[in-house]
């Protein structure tokens, strides 16, 4: 999370004078294990991440927003996305109601939505867990 925050702060620092910038970054990993009749039928591991960028520039009749994104956390890819968002501002239409949401002072909630112990489990332990779960399902 801290890495992503630093990345977002770094991208925000690339805003030019007169630009407001919104950066949405996410990263995640995924493990999918399918077990049938006691045997692993499918096992997939994947990682994904990307950055979405919106640049807003005020005009005479409202704001214009340019949008671009990259499915990578690589600095060069992010640079290209910032440049594309900036290009897209130039061709966007002005709209008096376009704006970026501003912080309302509400503290970020502390959420415990997932079992973090899963993150520290080895792949072998995850496979064993799924195999055992499937066995229990068959004998129940």
């Amino acid at each position: 999370m801290n890495d992503l925050n630093e990345l977002v702060e770094g991208v925000l620092g690339r805003a030019d004078d007169g630009e407001a910038m919104e950066v949405f970054a996410s990263a995640g990993t995924e493990v999918e294990i399918k077990v049938y009749d006691g045997r692993v039928e499918n096992l997939a591991r994947a990682a994904s991440g990307g950055v979405g960028i919106r640049i807003l520039r005020e005009g005479a009749a409202g704001a214009r927003i340019g949008v671009a994104w990259t499915g990578s956390l690589d600095e060069n890819a992010i640079d290209r996305a910032v440049s594309e968002a900036r290009d897209n501002v130039r061709v966007a239409s002005e709209d008096e109601f376009l704006a970026f949401a501003r912080p309302d002072g509400v503290a970020a909630a502390s959420l415990e939505l997932t079992d973090l112990s899963v993150r520290s489990m080895s792949l072998d332990d995850k496979v064993a867990l799924v195999v055992e779960t499937e066995r229990l399902q068959r004998v129940s």
Binding site: F24, S26, F97, P103
Partner: protein, 188 residues
């Protein structure tokens, strides 16, 4: 009939501590006792209408722009008895489970498949039905709700699609009765 959208329902699939525009999730009553009272709002629409935000600005991910989306949307319990509603229905369809569907958000026209449904004959649930759909228009069909039971329950985790974006949502309702609805299917 009272319909609520509530992003603050912790533990439900559509829970949002904050929406994707940084506004905290809220509970909004959209229809209260049959009267339309509010809408869901993202920042852009709220600004254009001079309305407060409601925590419904959501986006699937970094590739997408935020737009107005539901969170946990549910119909509150009424004062009828679910068994009595069936017993007082001479002929109808009991829908135990809805499947996938489509809604034209501009017109409100919808079609939803029924994955588990039965005929109601003489106030009793009888023959199972298969391969049939409910077809209608949202605002029109809401005016045909003539009984709402007290057996409210949230459904399972759901996904709502809109303009190519999928977001996790929750839905819930009690047993309710429509006085009439178009049913489509294949005659056999």
């Amino acid at each position: 009939m009272t319909l609520v959208d509530d992003g603050t329902e912790a533990g439900e699939w559509g829970y949002v501590a904050v929406d994707d525009e940084g506004h905290r999730g809220t509970r909004a009553t959209l229809i209260e006792n049959g009267v339309l009272t509010d809408y869901m709002w993202d920042y852009l629409r709220a600004r254009s209408a001079g309305h407060g935000r409601s925590g419904n600005g959501r986006r699937q991910g970094y590739q997408y722009l935020p737009m107005v989306r539901m969170t946990n949307t549910f119909l509150l319990a009424g004062d009828s008895d679910a068994d009595e509603i069936v017993a007082q229905t001479p002929y109808g369809i009991y829908v135990a489970q809805l499947g996938g569907g489509q809604v034209n958000t501009a017109t409100g026209d919808f079609v939803f498949g029924m994955t588990s449904a039965f005929l109601i004959e003489g106030g009793r649930i009888t023959t199972p039905l298969r391969d049939c759909n409910l077809i209608g228009n949202g605002p029109a069909i809401l005016q045909r709700v003539d009984a709402v039971a007290g057996d409210f329950a949230m459904g399972g985790p759901g996904t709502c699609g809109k303009d190519g974006q999928q977001v996790p949502v929750g839905t819930g309702q009690p047993t309710l009765r429509l006085s009439a609805v178009t049913v489509g299917g294949t005659a056999s």
